[in-house]
Symmetry: C2
Subunit: 689 residues, 2 copies
Amino acid sequence: MRNKLLCLILLAFTLNLQAENGHSLWLRANSSRAVNIVCAKSSPTLAIAKQELKQGWLGQNGAKIVLTVKNDKAIKGDGFKLSGNEIQANTDLGILYGVYELLRRQQTEQPIVQNEICNPSYQRRVLNHWDNLDGSIERGYAGRSIFWHDVEKGYAVTDKDRNLWKEYARANASIGINGTVLNNVNSSKLMLTTECLAKVKAIAEVLRPYGIKTYLSVKFSSPPLIGGLKTSDPLNPEVIKWWKDKANEIYKTIPDFGGFLIKANSEGEPGPQDFGRTHADGANMLADAVKPFGGIIMWRAFVYEANSKDRACQAYKEFMPLDGQFRDNVIIQVKNGPVDFQPREPFTPLFGALKKTSVMPELQITQEYLGHSIQLVYLATMWEEFLKSDTYQEGNGSTVARTTDGSIFPQKYTAIAGVANIGLDNNWCGHHFAQANWYAFGRMAWNNQITSEKIADEWLRLTFLPKDEKLTPNVADWQKTFLAPVKQMMLESREATVNYSMPLGLHHIFAGLNNTHYGPGPWFGPKGIRKDWTAAYYHKADSLGIGFDRTTKGTDAVSQYHEPLRSQFESVATCPEIYLLWFHHLPWDYKMKNGRILWDELCYAYDKGVNEVRQFQKTWDKVQPYVDAQRFSEVQSKLRQQCRDAQVWKDGCLLYFQQFSKRPIPFEIERPVYDLNYLLKTDLTELLK
Amino acid sequence: MRNKLLCLILLAFTLNLQAENGHSLWLRANSSRAVNIVCAKSSPTLAIAKQELKQGWLGQNGAKIVLTVKNDKAIKGDGFKLSGNEIQANTDLGILYGVYELLRRQQTEQPIVQNEICNPSYQRRVLNHWDNLDGSIERGYAGRSIFWHDVEKGYAVTDKDRNLWKEYARANASIGINGTVLNNVNSSKLMLTTECLAKVKAIAEVLRPYGIKTYLSVKFSSPPLIGGLKTSDPLNPEVIKWWKDKANEIYKTIPDFGGFLIKANSEGEPGPQDFGRTHADGANMLADAVKPFGGIIMWRAFVYEANSKDRACQAYKEFMPLDGQFRDNVIIQVKNGPVDFQPREPFTPLFGALKKTSVMPELQITQEYLGHSIQLVYLATMWEEFLKSDTYQEGNGSTVARTTDGSIFPQKYTAIAGVANIGLDNNWCGHHFAQANWYAFGRMAWNNQITSEKIADEWLRLTFLPKDEKLTPNVADWQKTFLAPVKQMMLESREATVNYSMPLGLHHIFAGLNNTHYGPGPWFGPKGIRKDWTAAYYHKADSLGIGFDRTTKGTDAVSQYHEPLRSQFESVATCPEIYLLWFHHLPWDYKMKNGRILWDELCYAYDKGVNEVRQFQKTWDKVQPYVDAQRFSEVQSKLRQQCRDAQVWKDGCLLYFQQFSKRPIPFEIERPVYDLNYLLKTDLTELLK
C-alpha cells in the first residue's frame, strides 16, 4: 500500500497535470467530439444551449440531439423532459437547463433514461449578494464584489466586467439558479438612484440570456433618503406613489426585473415598525408596487430585539400573528435556523407554522460562521439535514422542503435564497471547495430531495477529474483513490466543524473581536454591548452547568415547535444530543447516552473535531497525484490552517468552559497547546498573516 | 483510574498547596526539628554550615552532629567523610559540602553509611556567566544579569544585590560549585578597569564564605584597549608586564581570585594569532602572570575558520600540535561537542587526544539550542552521555570523564565549566525545570560518575515534595504518582528535543534569523554570510541525499577519533544511527536498521518528538494535585508552547527537506500544519507574543 502511494506521489511530481486555477469551476469540459443539433427555434438562450452542447458533448461522436420547445403539462416552469437524443421544454430556458443536465449526466457517467421529467422544486432560485456599493462584501471572503468593485470610477461598465458576469451567469444557469440579488441586504440608499439603476440594467442584460432575473435589496427608508419625502410610512400615499413610480422606472429599463429583497426593522435597518405599522403593511405596500410587472417582495424574518430573553423566539412571535395578511407576491424569507447561520441549529419554527403565507428558506453559502474561505466545510449536508427536518405541521413527512415548495401549502410563488460566496478571486470563492457550496445550493434549489452525497459526487467529477484524455483508462482507479476518499471528507466536513467549534447544540460562541466571526469567542462580551450579542447569553456556562434552557421551564422556545417535536425537545431524555445544549441547561456531570459525563463528552467532541481535520489533511495529501499543482497546494495550505484553527477552537472553548466545570480534560485527550489568556486577546484573522 | 485522577484534580482545586514562585530552588527545607551541633572551630564558612544544619535538619529531633576539620589523606581537596553523626573534612568548605550532602540525604531519603568518603571529581567546578556589563546576557533567557543589571547607575552595590548574590552563592555551594566567571567570554574591555574590579571585589566578598572563587573573562587585547599599549603581542615585554601588573592589582583586593577565562582568536575576538603567535604563547603569558597567586588560565578551544571545509575539525587541528607546550596552570576549555552545544553531537576529539595538556569540559547549562527557557529539556542525560563516552585513547574505558578528571592523565588542575542559565527572573532560570540543569551541572561536576536519573530523583524530591507536613503520610503515593512520571519526563526530554529538532545526527539547522537560535532554520543562509554559519553547510541536503560526509572520503573528521571509533564512525554499517548524518551523506532511500528508508525515518523521528512533548503535557497535567498553582501553571504554559514549537520544528524541517527528497511524508504521520513559506520568514521568538 505504501509503495503504491509512493509511486503515485512520484508520478505527480513528473506527470504535470494541466495547471488549473479553479476559475472554470465545474465547467471544465472541452470535448473534441461532434454533435448534430436539431432545433427549430432560435433565441439568445437557445444559442447558448447549442454552444454548450458543442463544447461539452461527451455522447457518441456525431450523434444527433433534438431541442424541442413545446408545451407539456407534465413539465413545470422551466423544467424539461430529458432523453438521450432529445430535450423538450416549455421554455427556451428549460431547454438550456436540459442541456446542462444532459451534459452533466454524460460528464459524470450518470444514466439517461427516455422521457425523464425534471421539474424544479422552487420557482425562484436566488443568490443573495451581500455586496456593498463600495465594492466590499459583507461576510465575503473571496475578494471584492464582481458587480461593484470599481465604484470609485463611477458606474461605468467595461468589457471585462461583462465577460466576468457572463461567466457568472453561465455558472449559475448550469446549476439552475435563475435569480440574483445584486446588493447587500444592509443596502445603500444609492441603490435606487437612476445612475445606479443604469448599471443594474447593464448587468441584467448580460444575465438575461442565461435566464437569470435581477433583484435588488432596497432600504425601506428610500423615499426620504433619496426621494425628498418626509416619511417612509408604508400607508402614506406619497410613499406608496414613490414606490410605484420607482417600480415603473425600474421595469421600464429592466422588464424582467425580479423584485425587492428587504431587511426591515432588523439590526438597525429602518422598517414599517418605525411608524407603528406591521411587517405586512410594509411588505404589501411594496408588493403592490411591483405586482403589475410580475415582481415579488422577499421580506426577511431575521428580526430580534436587544432585550429579548431568547432571540431564537423572536421571528416566530413577530410573524405568526401576521399569517394570512401578506399579499400573494410577498414571500417571507426565513433563515434555516432561529439564531443565525450557526454550524448547527434546529430549523426555524416558522417553517410549516406559517400556513397562509408564502415562506422561502434563506441559506448562507458564504461561510460566515463556518470558517470563511479558510476552512473546508461542505454545507450541503447541513442543508440536507435542514430541508429534510420534519416540522410535523401537517402530519408526518411535513418536511421543511415540503412546507416551502408548494407541496403542502399553496404558494403563488415558491423560492429559496442562498447568500453568495462569490467574489473577484480567481477561483470565485476563495477556497476551491467552497465552489461546491455554490454548486450544491443551485442543485438543491432545483431539487430539494437530492442528497448531499450525490451532489458531492457530481461536483467532484466535474471539478477534479483530470482533463488529460490519457488518464481516461484510469477513471476507475480515480474513483476509488480520489473520488471516494475526497467525497467522504466533504461529507464529514461539516460535522467536523460542529465538533471543533460548537458541538452538542452550542451556538453563537464565535469570536466577536473586530466582528470577524472567525474562531472561538465563548468569552466574547465587551462592556456595554447588547446582551444578545455576547456569547454567554447563548452558552450560559456557570458553576452548575452549561446550555440554554429553552424548555417550558426556560424560555419556552420548544412550544414554537409542533408535536411531537415540542415534547421531544422538552425532555432531556428524548432531546437529540446534537441539540442538547440548545434546549437544555445541564450539569457538568450530566450523564450522556454513551455513559460519559457532559464535560467529558464536550472534551471528546472538540478533540474529535481536531482529529477529523487531521484526517482530512491525510486524505488530501494522499490524492496529490490526481490534482494539478496549484489547486492541490492551495487546498493543502488551507487545510493546514484549518487544523491550526481547529486546535484554537478546541483549546479556547475547553479552557474557557473549564473555568466553570472545574474538571480536568480527560487524560486520554491531547492537551491544549494555547493558554486561555493568549486566546482571549487574539484576533485569529490577524494571526499568522 | 479516571475516577482516581479526577478526585486528585478536584483535590488540587481545594487543597491550596503552599504558593511557591520557584525562587527557593531546591533549598526549600525548613525543619522544625532540633539538632545539637558540635564544632571546635569557627569561621564564616563553618557558621554557614551550622546555620544550614539547623534550618534543614530532618534527622532525629535533638540528635548530635559533630563537625571535624582534620586532615585525612583519603579526603581530597574539599571532599569530606560522612557519617550520620559526623562530618569530617580537610577544610571548612569540605565541612559545608558535607552538611549539604547530609541534608540532601535526609531530605531525599537516601541512606547514610558510616565514614563514607565523598571526593569531588574536579577541583574547579565553575559557572561561566555570559553576562555583559550592560546587564544583558548573551544566550540568557531568565532576565538580566544578577551582577551587572544596574550598570547605568554605575558600579554601585546595594544590599539587595548582596542578598541576591548570597542566595546565589548558597545555591551553588549546596551543589558543590566553587567558582564563577562573572562576565561574558565575549568580554568588555572595561572588565579590567579599576572601577569595574571594585565591583568584582564586592561580589567576591559575598561569595567567599560559600567557597566560591571569582574568575573573569578578559579581552586578550586589553593592554592596548585600556592600558595605552600599542600591542597585545604576548611576547612583547610591555604586554607581559601589563598583565603581571594587572594580576597584582587584582590579587591585592581579591586574594582568592580564581583566574582568567579567555576566548581568543575565535569569532572575531582578538588573540595571539593576530601577532603570529600560538594559543600556547598567549595562554602561557597570562598563566605566568597569575601563577604566583595560584591563579589559572582557562583557554577556550572553541575556534573555527570561515573557510574551513569542516568546522568540526578545526579545534583538533589547531590544538594538537601544541600538546605539551602549555603551562601547568593553563587548562584548555573544550566544549563537549565539536560544533557548538547542539542537541546531540559526538564528543570533541580533543578529549583524551591532548595527553600532555590539561583539558576541561565546557557544558552549556543555558539552553541556547535546546529551547531557551521555553522548553523543558533536562540536560543531564546529554552530559552523562558525553562524560561516559569512551575515547579509547588509553584503552577501553578512557571515558571523557576519566580523561579530564586526572584519572588517566596527570593534571595539576582539573576543572569543568558550565555556561550558566541564571538571571534576575524570580525563579532564576526562566523555566522551573531549567533549575534542574543548574543543579545537575553542580552534581556532575562534583561526581562525574553520577547518573542523570539519580540527579533528577534528588532534584524533584528537593524541589517539588509538598512542604505541607500533613502530606507526609502520602509520600509513597507522591513517589508513585508524581515523582516517577515526572522523572520519566525529564529523562526523556532531551531525546524528545533531538527528535523534533535535529535527529539522526543532524546539527546546526536552527533559526538564524535575528540570531535567536530558537526554532528551525535548515534554510538559513542569507546572502553574503559566512558559509559555515549557514545551515546547508551542515545538513548538505540535495536531490541525492542528506548529511555531512566526515569519513575519510569526506573531510576525514573520523580520523580525529581513536580506534575503534574511527572505523566505527567511518563505516555506515557500524556508525551509530544517532550520529548517522553527522558522519555520512546518505541517499534518501538509504535503508535504516529498522527497514525504513532514511527519509521515512526522518519523518518518524520528527513526529515522534512532537508526540513525546504531547505526552509530557499529559504527564504534567496529571500531577496538578501535587504542585502549587503558580509553578504548575507556569510549567503547563511552557509545555504548551513547547508543543506548538515542536510542531514548527517538525513542519519546517520536513517541508524543507522534502523539497530535496521529493517523497511524501508517510501517511501514518500527522501532516504539517504550517506552510514552508510561512515558516521561512517567521521569527519564532516573535510569534504569539
